[in-house]
């Protein structure tokens, strides 16, 4: 049974592409066959985060428009052989993706992969709605910051109204992935706590990824963080999230290293 998962947020720069790459790689490392689909037409970046930018020939728009067959556009990762990428196009044509074309491609991908991870563009325009359209479940990426949480709330509303599942009256599974979290600052009251964000958005928590230098290092090198340094706290958070997605019962680790102050005054970051 294949699953279509959209990684979305509304706001830009919160870590959608980083999270798509890391979750996709973690699922593939767990033995699943995975395709990462970059829906950010015009501004593709997932190829760069995966280190596959030199190998892009065809893209999602070529496949949607029938100029290339799906197998020709798929790029297989050189490190994890069950991980694949369907890159976005660099075209400026806003209407390059059609609803019918995307539906056909998602259908073809369902026949080939266990997981279809759709990396949504920022915003609430056509690209974002097409990325979530066929999803079975959604990962809402948010930072503990007011504008990000507000935009996440709007996206949750769209997931509950604009997706095929929602229109069919079925349940849309949604998970919160909190990124760029700083447990120390949260403990000192300088940043909203995990619990605060969870209370506001009222969707289950998939994971908490701490602000971490490993994320930049991994993207510099073109590695998903789970591949670059599996022991890094950010990588462990993503791997744990992937195991949760696979239905494992896992206990979250506390987010980030906790300093003396946070140990004295802080509560556990992730329950």
């Amino acid at each position: 049974m294949s699953k279509v998962m959209v990684v979305t947020s509304g706001k830009g720069g919160v870590g959608k592409t980083t999270s798509s790459a890391a979750l996709g790689a973690a699922l593939a490392q767990a033995g699943q066959s995975v395709v990462l689909v970059d829906f950010d037409v015009g501004l593709r970046n997932l190829d760069l985060i995966l280190g596959a930018e030199r190998r892009v020939v065809f893209d999602l728009v070529n496949v949607v428009q029938g100029d290339a067959k799906l197998p020709q556009a798929l790029i297989r990762d050189k490190r994890v052989e069950t991980l694949h990428l369907l890159p976005a196009s660099q075209t400026r044509d806003k209407d390059a993706l059609t609803a019918e074309g995307v539906e056909r491609v998602i259908g073809e991908l369902r026949e080939r992969f266990d997981w279809i991870v759709c990396d949504s563009p920022a915003g609430i325009e056509k690209g974002a709605t097409l990325a979530m359209r066929h999803a079975d479940l959604a990962v809402v990426v948010a930072n503990p910051e007011v504008s990000s949480v507000r935009d996440s709330d709007r996206i949750i509303g769209m997931l509950d109204s604009k997706t095929r599942r929602a229109e069919a009256g079925e349940k849309m599974e949604k998970h919160l992935l909190l990124t760029r979290y700083d447990a120390g600052r949260a403990a000192r009251g300088e940043m909203m706590k995990v619990e605060d964000v969870l209370e506001i958005l009222a969707i289950p928590l998939l994971g908490v990824v701490s602000e971490s230098p490993d994320v930049l290092t991994a993207s510099n090198l073109g590695f998903p963080v789970t591949l670059h340094n599996p022991a890094a706290p950010a990588a462990r958070a993503y791997s744990l999230a992937a195991r949760k997605l696979l239905g494992e019962e896992v206990r979250a680790e506390p987010a980030g290293k906790r300093g003396l102050m946070s140990r004295l005054f802080g509560r556990r970051a992730a329950a």
Binding site: G51, E53, V57
Partner: protein, 86 residues
Amino acid sequence: MNLLHLFNRNRSAPVARDRLQVLLAHERALGGRADLAAVLEKEILEVIARHIPVDRDKVRVELERGDHVSTLAIDIEMPETTVARG
């Protein structure tokens, strides 16, 4: 920044800079036009299709853009019968 950082040989920023330079050189040269690799693939397939039936599902295209040299590999599965006839 401490001394350890200064002398850390596993610096990733130069790798990031090099990757971007190669990628952007290619993208700027294209200026929104179709990638040469895509054009070549299409035309090569057209020539081959004149002689043998080509199943587009059985064509694999691999590209590796390098700093100085890029390689395009097009892998076409030819049916037994056509090879024997040729």
